[in-house]
Symmetry: C2
DNA sequence: CACGTAGTTCGATCATGGTCAAACTTCGAC
DNA sequence: GTCGAAGTTTGACCATGATCGAACTACGTG
């Protein structure tokens, strides 16, 4: 049975209590996913999936978003045909204090040092 | 030509400027290696390789120490036939401020929640 | 309804990395 | 020198996960 007309497609998110450090690290060990998180932090606002600047195909990008979401790092929601992405900054900071900021800062440091 | 008698076996360590976030995350994404780091942080002193409580064979453990050392996370040195291990806490904190403490704290949080 | 855009699902491929046992090296002690 | 203890090296095995293209679904617009 198809969803009713006016209900937006729903996205499942883990409760922060179910998020483990293992999940988070597995998510952020991938450079592409770290780029996504960086761009999200840099933007300071929610971004649709298609507007990220990453060198992978759409299907691969979908995979990366799934991993980030299931790890509790991002929150996703539909707006029409586009899917928006937001960092779960506050929740993550309560679950693992200081971790996400340190990673984002380190990520910026890291990419800056390898930039031309 | 064999080393002179009185010189201890030497261990190569990367300069902190050569250590990347990618290296560090790849090192710490493995649960066994995180256990090693946790036990090292907990102990507050240098520990020999053989005294760690990890469920892997000696050859695998050697591999894990190599990864941690090459990622800049630990420093190793020989004392007789035993090899000692130390966290490069201060250097890491200068390179990636707040990262290692946050990870160690998160690691403790994480293992505590799954403990019996 | 037809079309285009945004994203997903599926299946296959392929590289990476954790694991072990066995043989080896290095050192201290006797 | 011989022995045992502490690590290392090597080679093989195997699970995981990143990747892609092709076919698919969902939504807004005309």
């Amino acid at each position: 049975m198809p969803r009713p007309r006016t209900a937006a497609r729903m996205v499942e998110h883990p409760a922060m209590t179910d998020v483990t450090l293992q999940h988070v690290l597995e998510a952020l060990v991938d450079p592409v996913r770290r780029t996504v998180v960086s761009q999200l932090a840099q933007a300071g606002q929610d971004i649709s999936c298609g507007t990220f600047d990453v060198p992978v195909s759409r299907s691969t990008l979908t995979h990366h978003f799934n991993v980030l979401r299931e790890a509790g790092v991002i929150r996703q929601y539909y707006v029409g045909t586009t899917k928006m992405n937001a960092l779960r900054t506050d929740e993550m900071n309560e679950r693992f204090p200081g971790l996400l900021p340190a990673l984002i800062a380190a990520s910026a440091e890291d990419t800056a040092s390898s930039a031309a």
